[in-house]
């Protein structure tokens, strides 16, 4: 029930390690923002600065318009779920969830109501009298969430809450977090290194690298218009294919020439290049695996290559192919597009022709790796 604003926030650990550089972000009331990035990029540090668990070296953090830099965590009215759950081992589940309420001297009957309510929502009622030690990972995670839920805090912070769970449970909990979000209707800041989690949970995603924000945007924006090569490769699975090639302008039309082919940049991407009057240049071309298709016959706009690995994922195939000059690409094809015979032929050493359309290409400057169209 509050907005959070970070202005020029910087974190310098002792020994002059700069973990976060000039972080600027305004999180709106009731927004679900996800910080995502590779390990060590400063996500947790930023989150912990919002929580008040880490000093802010420079800049300001505001919650609800109030600068909270010098406020203790207890005075910031935030709730937090930790990666390792951080349940109090000497207390029962009930006492764990009731802890914050009792500190606030909430009357015991009200505590009872809130705790049992939260336990109901999370499906942990039957474990209320157990100690955390006697719970499974998923159950512990629910308790940790329950503990944060009863707070009714202004901001709900979560630091990789699902990373200790197995894949199946993670998917289930992810769905539950979406439901929870609808029930709580408050401001969420969620940290993860998993781009799937980020894409499915976030209203907006903040992609970070080495302490810098690379891009902020809705899942759709960062997926369709990554501002640079890093974001392009980080978002989407399997990751985007990228290769060095040339962008050529010829009589008002643009072409790319990957691996000896010549493919016209048509559709919206062609229009955008024209609009911006982009010159011919060396670029890094990005094409997502799902945008590459298998061509029937060879031609000027196809790339010959050899199949190395065929991963059957169920609804789709991931084909790892090698071009003639030894570059590795991944092609993602819906299984239904291929008949049984064609599927059977997709084995090691099979010669293929691949192609892609201009409207799904991404162009990055060779030097600065920035998207030419942003």
């Amino acid at each position: 029930m509050a907005n959070v604003k970070l202005t020029d926030v910087k974190k310098i650990y002792d020994k002059n390690v700069v973990a976060v550089h000039d972080f600027n972000l305004e999180i709106k009331d009731k927004e679900f923002v996800v910080f995502v990035g590779p390990s060590g990029c400063g996500k947790s540090t930023t989150l912990r600065m919002i929580a008040g668990l880490e000093d802010i070296s420079e800049g300001t953090v505001e919650i609800d318009g109030e600068v909270v830099n010098d406020l203790q965590p207890k005075d910031r009215d935030i709730a937090m779920v930790f990666q390792n759950y951080a349940l109090y081992p000497h207390m029962t589940v009930y006492d764990n969830i009731a802890f914050s309420l009792r500190l606030k001297k909430v009357p015991e009957d009200e505590v009872y109501e809130k705790v049992t309510n939260a336990a109901n929502v999370l499906g942990i009622t039957e474990y209320l009298m157990r100690k955390p030690r006697a719970l499974s990972g998923g159950q512990r995670q629910r308790v940790a969430i329950g503990r944060a839920m009863v707070r009714n805090a202004k901001v709900f912070l979560m630091d990789e809450p699902l990373s200790n769970l197995d894949a199946k449970l993670r998917n289930q909990m992810r769905a539950e977090i979406i439901l929870l979000r609808q029930k709580l209707d408050t401001t969420f800041v969620y940290v993860t290194h998993d781009q799937t989690e980020a894409m499915t949970l976030g209203d907006r995603i903040v992609i970070m690298q080495n302490g810098y924000i690379e891009q902020v945007g809705t899942p759709m924006e960062v997926f369709e218009m990554p501002t640079n090569l890093f974001v392009a490769e980080f978002i989407g699975a399997p990751k985007m294919n990228t290769f060095k090639t040339k962008l050529i302008e010829e009589g008002g039309k643009y072409y790319v020439t990957p691996f000896g082919s010549k493919i016209e940049v048509n559709g919206i991407k062609g229009d955008m290049l024209r609009e911006r009057n982009v010159k011919s240049q060396n670029i890094i071309l990005g094409v997502r695996p799902e945008h590459i298709s298998l061509a029937e016959n060879g031609g000027e706009d196809t790339i010959p290559c050899t199949l190395e690995v065929n991963e059957m994922m169920g609804s789709e195939l991931h084909l790892h192919v090698v071009t003639e000059d030894g570059s590795h690409l991944i092609v993602r094809t819906p299984t239904v597009d291929l008949d049984a015979d064609a599927r059977r032929e997709l084995v090691y050493g099979k010669k293929l022709n691949i192609t892609f359309e201009g409207k799904v290409m991404h162009f990055f400057g060779e030097e600065d790796n920035r998207n030419l169209l942003v």
Partner: protein, 294 residues
């Protein structure tokens, strides 16, 4: 056939292990029992002496010929109750204050990061290497000027006992260090102050260490002789039991006081024994528990 012989072999090996284990167990227990007998003899001896009424001086046998509580009754005609009370007050006050100081100190050094933290810890380590006795003379002067010697020795002693107690943080800090920091952080986010974190999270998780700290803090003053003797400086009303009882062993007093001395010794052992028996379970856990608790 081959399976049979292999099971036989396994059985034989098991028997081998069992027999050799039994032998080594027997040997170990024999040695342990012998050691504990040797260790217990003086205690049994003192207890028996304390009930002997036929002579107050040493005799050539162990089992008293006449049993009675005379020695205990006589204790109360001397300054002994006063000494006992002095010791008790000093020990309890020290136990309470020292425990509070040590635990706060350990928590601070374990959880807070401040500029001089490392130098401070190193400084205390080095300071702790000097024997406390070195300070005795200057301490006496200071306490005398403050009027806390002789008859007023008890507050002076308490001051001496707790003065450097902050330096005894090693064990409990080591234990606190094993408690994950995220528990503190979760509690602080949940609305706890630093002190509430210590009280509601850290201490309940460190019960063995708290008990250990209380016990050691109590034991020090309870058995102290050197400082107590020096600061009471011959004034009977300021002595503790160790000093007072020791004076009975003077060449000219011992003949009348020997059995009473034994009775006093038994009474001194009573509270410590009770304390140990109540807290023993935690104490053992406390000394060894830090290593395995996650």
């Amino acid at each position: 056939m081959s399976t049979l012989s292999s099971t036989e072999r396994t059985a034989k090996r098991h028997m081998g292990i069992n027999t050799s284990r039994r032998i080594s167990n027997t040997a170990a227990y024999t040695v342990l029992i012998l050691i504990s007998i040797i260790w217990l003899v003086p205690f049994v001896f003192i207890v028996l002496q304390s009930f002997r009424v036929e002579s107050t001086w040493q005799v050539g046998y162990v089992i008293p010929q006449k049993w009675g509580l005379d020695n205990y009754a006589n204790l109360f005609k001397t300054d002994f109750p006063r000494w006992y009370l002095n010791t008790f007050i000093a020990a309890v006050a020290t136990a309470v204050l020292q425990t509070v100081i040590v635990l706060c100190m350990s928590y601070t050094l374990s959880r807070f990061r401040f500029k001089m933290r490392k130098p401070l810890m190193r400084f205390m380590l080095i300071l702790g290497m000097f024997p406390g006795m070195l300070t005795m003379i200057i301490l006496y002067r200071v306490l005398k000027d403050l009027g806390m010697t002789q008859a007023n020795a008890v507050p002076g002693l308490i001051l001496v006992y707790i003065a450097s107690s902050g330096m005894g943080y090693y064990v409990s800090k080591g234990f606190f260090d094993t408690i994950p920091k995220s528990l503190d952080e979760a509690a602080r986010v949940d609305g706890a102050t630093r002190f509430q974190v210590l009280k509601k999270i850290i201490l309940p998780l460190s019960k063995p260490i708290v008990i250990y700290t209380i016990l050691t803090a109590f034991m020090g003053p309870w058995g102290d002789f050197v400082f107590a003797r020096y600061i009471s400086f011959g004034t009977s009303s300021g002595m503790n039991v160790a000093v007072g009882l020791y004076n009975w062993l003077n060449r000219d007093q011992i003949a009348n006081n020997y059995t009473m001395f034994c009775a006093g010794g038994v009474l001194v052992a009573v509270p410590v024994t009770l304390l140990f028996m109540c807290l023993q379970r935690y104490y053992v856990e406390g000394v060894t528990g830090g290593a395995v608790k996650g």
